[in-house]
């Protein structure tokens, strides 16, 4: 009689993960608008998970996936000299949405995500504003924020200081679907 309960118990983690939303191809674009040079690059390989039951999230992007730049040499320098992609392959943001949201209620919400933001192996606690569009079976996230290179120990040699800004503008756009 009691043995029949066991399969029910085993189902528990499956039920718990049913509120998970996922993306594997979000887009991230960054812009360095310096006095002497405008550099833009984008990637379509942002991955992320959002747990709607406790509003926790995790996003990750491979630095090597950024394309664009003004030349392939510039892309190489980005990976080799600045973000050091072989040592620190991913940029990540892991944390929780501050505001209470009813994810079962379609609509648009302006929220703040608070958590650990990591680039170049250096963590920063950040609060990042996001615009959420909650739909039936999809959550769209749009965000614009900036990253200070000094916060992440990315050093710009003085000789190129007029070609790279200290503050990089980032634009993020992704649609999450139930996992």
């Amino acid at each position: 009689m009691r043995l029949k309960l066991i399969p029910l118990l085993l189902l528990f983690p499956l039920i718990a993960s049913a509120q998970m939303y996922k993306t594997t191809q979000g887009t991230v674009k960054f812009i360095s608008d310096a006095p002497l040079e405008l550099i833009q690059a984008q990637s379509g390989k942002l991955t992320g998970l959002l747990n709607t039951s406790d509003r926790s999230f995790a996003f990750s992007i491979t630095m090597l996936s950024f394309e664009g730049f003004n030349s392939s040499l510039q892309r190489t320098h980005f990976n080799e000299n600045y973000v050091e992609s072989s040592k620190f392959p991913n940029a990540t943001f892991e944390g929780k949405i501050i505001e209470e949201i009813n994810f079962s209620n379609p609509g648009e919400y302006d929220v703040r995500g608070k958590g650990k933001f990591t680039i170049h192996g250096v963590d920063q606690v950040r609060i990042i504003k996001c615009h959420l569009v909650v739909q039936k079976n999809a959550i769209i996230i749009r965000s614009k924020f900036s990253v200070l290179l000094a916060d992440h120990n990315i050093k710009i040699p003085t000789i190129v200081s007029k070609k790279i800004t200290e503050e990089i503008a980032v634009e993020l756009n992704t649609t999450l679907n139930p996992k």
């Binding site: 009691r2 309960l5 066991i6 118990l9 085993l10 528990f12 983690p13 718990a16 993960s17 996922k22 833009q40 991955t47 992320g48 998970l49 747990n51 926790s56 999230f57 995790a58 996003f59 990750s60 491979t62 090597l64 996936s65 664009g68 730049f69 003004n70 030349s71 392939s72 040499l73 510039q74 190489t76 320098h77 990976n79 080799e80 000299n81 600045y82 050091e84 992609s85 072989s86 040592k87 990540t92 892991e94 040699p157 000789i159 190129v160 070609k163």
Partner: protein, 306 residues
């Protein structure tokens, strides 16, 4: 009877404990794994191919070619300069009074294919070449231990030959160079390249000079910082193929990269900045002090507008 009841109680307790245990195991993956770990696990299942970037700082190690390509739309202006030998004494300012120069251009037709053109002061030699990246070192979904490039060059000298009474055909003035460049980036700091190749001269000065001269080069670079690297190259040339003994070229230098420029400063016993000049025509012996200072300035431009 009472004994039996205790036994039953015990067995109920035991079953409950088992339930608790199963429950805790069933919930464990959720509790222990952070969302980021879960995401990383998902991502690891579909690993992409990661190509080794920037095996060398420039398209040359010192005088010889490196496995690097410029990239589609990239354009390099290369000014190379070799001073005289350090042992030439104070009246030549230890070699700084003498110089040899090559001006070259190269362009990335495709990401994997470069075309180049240069002119050396020595022999007024014009050289043209193609460099094609056959294999790219990679890890992840596709694993490739080395990068391999093919380099093929044709040179022509328009200079006036010693005997003006003999007419030379265009073919007599040409030489060819072919190389297979095999390189591996062992770590972020260390890259090594093996370069088997040959020079074929259509016409040589004497009968003792052979047309076909094979050689094997080994080169490498070791990064000292993100912008500075130590580099060296050595070419073993098959001996006894020339009338006058030639010496194996050996060069040691540093690369300094500053965004669009790479400055390569070095000491070398080869005055040639093209394989035709540095392989069969190198009469400088390092051991006798026949080496001098030299530099390459590589300026990168880009004509692709995105």
């Amino acid at each position: 009877m009472r004994k039996h009841q205790t036994k039953l109680k015990n067995s109920i307790m035991f079953t409950r404990l088992i339930y608790l245990f199963i429950l805790s195991i069933a919930c464990f993956p959720l509790a222990a794994q952070s969302l980021l770990d879960q995401l990383n696990n998902d991502n690891a299942k579909k690993a992409d191919t990661v190509y080794a970037e920037a095996t060398f700082k420039a398209t040359r190690i010192v005088s010889g070619q490196s496995v690097e390509n410029i990239g589609k739309g990239g354009f390099n202006l290369i000014i190379s300069h070799r001073f005289g030998n350090i042992n030439s004494g104070v009246h030549q300012l230890y070699g700084l009074d003498q110089n040899s120069i090559r001006i070259g251009f190269e362009y990335g037709l495709f990401d994997r294919l470069d075309i180049g053109l240069g002119r050396s002061r020595a022999e007024e030699l014009l050289d043209t070449y193609l460099k094609f990246k056959l294999l790219k070192q990679s890890s992840g979904a596709v694993t490739m231990p080395v990068s391999v490039a093919l380099y093929s060059s044709a040179t022509i000298t328009p200079m006036i030959f010693a005997d003006p009474n003999i007419s030379y055909t265009i073919m007599d003035r040409m030489s060819y160079i072919n190389e297979i460049l095999i390189a591996r980036k062992f770590s972020n700091t260390l890259s090594v390249q093996l370069t088997p190749g040959f020079v074929h001269r259509n016409l040589t000065e004497t009968k003792m000079d052979k047309n076909f001269i094979p050689y094997v080069g080994i080169g490498g670079r070791c990064k000292l910082s993100n912008h500075i690297a130590l580099s060296a190259e050595y070419y073993w040339v098959q001996p006894n193929l020339t009338a006058i003994k030639v010496y194996n070229p050996l060069s040691i230098g540093i690369d300094i990269e500053t965004g669009g420029h790479v400055f390569q400063l070095h000491f070398t016993n080869s005055k040639g900045m093209n394989e035709k000049l540095m392989i069969p025509d190198n009469y400088n012996n390092w051991l006798k002090g026949d080496f001098g200072f030299g530099f390459n300035i590589i300026r990168h431009f880009n004509f692709r507008h995105s």
